[in-house]
Assembly symmetry: C2
Amino acid sequence: MSLNTAFAQPIARSRLYEEIVAIIQKQILNGTLLPGTKLPPEREMAETFNVNRTTLREALRRLENLELLEIRHGDGVYAKNFLESGNLDLIKAAVSLDANNETLLNIMEARLSIIPEIAAMAAQRRTAAELAEIKLVIDREDMSISEKDLIIHHLIVRATHNLVYTIMLNFFNQLHRDVGQLYFNDERNIEQSRRFHSDIYEAIKDRKPEAARRIMQDVLLYAEQAVKANLAVKQ
Amino acid sequence: MSLNTAFAQPIARSRLYEEIVAIIQKQILNGTLLPGTKLPPEREMAETFNVNRTTLREALRRLENLELLEIRHGDGVYAKNFLESGNLDLIKAAVSLDANNETLLNIMEARLSIIPEIAAMAAQRRTAAELAEIKLVIDREDMSISEKDLIIHHLIVRATHNLVYTIMLNFFNQLHRDVGQLYFNDERNIEQSRRFHSDIYEAIKDRKPEAARRIMQDVLLYAEQAVKANLAVKQ
DNA sequence: AATCTTATATTGGTTGGATCACTGAACCAA
DNA sequence: TTGGTTCAGTGATCCAACCAATATAAGATT
C-alpha cells in the first residue's frame, strides 16, 4: 500500500554547487552585488566558500547561464544587470525570495494575458488528430484530475503549432506543480476543472477562438482567486 | 581602422564544453536522442568526446539547466522531453537549427501577442518618474537609434511593474540584437522608429492603454515585415 | 610626448587522477 | 514477503598541475 501521495514529499537534496548558486543569486537579486562589480578570482572564491575550484566553477557556470554573471577568459567574473539580461529561470528564485508574494502575483498576471491567447489560437489551428488526443485524455480514468489538467494544457499549446508558446507554457506549469497540489485537494476545484476540460474541448472542437479564450480566462481567474485565498490564509 | 560593423561578426570563441552542449542539444532537438534514453556514464562519454571528465560535466550541467537532461546521482544521465520541460533558452538553439525559419516566425508571433499588452499596461501604471526617464532617452543625442530603441523598450516594460514581463522582454531582445543590426541600417526604418518613439511616449504620457497597444502593434508588424522581406531575399 | 611593441602577471579553461556519496540489484536473513 | 547487507556502478567533489586569453606595465620606436 502506498502512502498518501500528498504527504510524500520528494526530498530533493541540494548539491554543493547549488548552495553557492543560491548565495550569489540572492546577493544579485537583492542588490548587494551591483551590476559591473568584478568578483574575486575563482581560486580566491573557492577558498572563501571552502569548496574546490571545480565545484565553484559549476556554480559560476550556472550563474552565467542565468545571465547573472559574465565570465571573461583571462579577465575575470563580473555581475550583470539581471533586469536587462536575466533569464526566466530567475523568476523561480525571485518567487522564493520576496516575502510578500509580489512575484507570484506577477506570474499569474502574465499568465492571464498569455494563456487565453494560446487557447484561442489552438481553436483556430488544431488538427483533427490533435483534437482527438485531447478527447482521449479527458475520457481516461486511470489518471488523476491534476495529471489530466497538465496534459490537456500541453496538448492545447501543442495545437498552436508555435514552439515559443509551448516552451513558455513549461514555465507557467512549474507554478502549476508547486501550487496545484493544494488546488486539486479541494473537491469544488476538481469539479470546476472537469467542467473546464469539457468546455474548452467543445470550443476547440467547434473552432471558436473567442469562446476558448473566454473559457481559459475564466478558469485562470478562478484558480487565481483560489491561490490568493490560500496566500491570505497563510499570512 | 575598424571593419564594417555589420560585417564584423562577434568572435565568440566557443568553449570546449559549449561544443559538446551543441552536439547533444542537437541530438535531442531533432529526435535522435529520445526522452527516457539513458546516456553512457560520464567517464565513457568523456572518452568518446575526447575531453576531460570535468569539461564533459560542465556540458552536462548546462544541458541539465536547459531541462534537456536529468542527472541522477548514483544512477545516470537521462534525456528528457524538451517539449514538456524545455527552457526558453532552447529557442535560440532551435532558431539556428531549423532551416526554414519557422521558429523565428514563432518568436515574432508570440512577441506580437505579448509586447503590445505590455505597452498598454505601462500606459496605465507608469509613474511620473518613469515617464520622465523615457522622455530623457528619446531626447538624448549621444546615442544611436538602435541603442535608444532597446532602452525605451526596457523602460516601458519596467513601467508595468511586473518582473515576469521584464524578464520575458529580455528573451525577445536577443532577437533584437541579432536582427536589429540590419533593420537599423535602412534609413526608412530609422525614421519609422523615431516616429514610434514619440508616438508611444505620447500614449503613455496621456495614459491611453489602447493607443499604446495599437502603436506597439503597428511597429512590431512593420518590423516583422522588414525581417520577412530580408529572409525572403536570403533564401 | 605619443604611440606601438613586448614581456609578464593575472585569471579563466582544461587536464589527469583520486576519493567521497548515492543508487540499484543481488543476495541473505527474519 | 519483508527488511537488512553487500557490492558494483555512477555521479559529486577534491587536488594539483598546466594551457590560453587578457590586462597591465615596461620598454622601444617614432
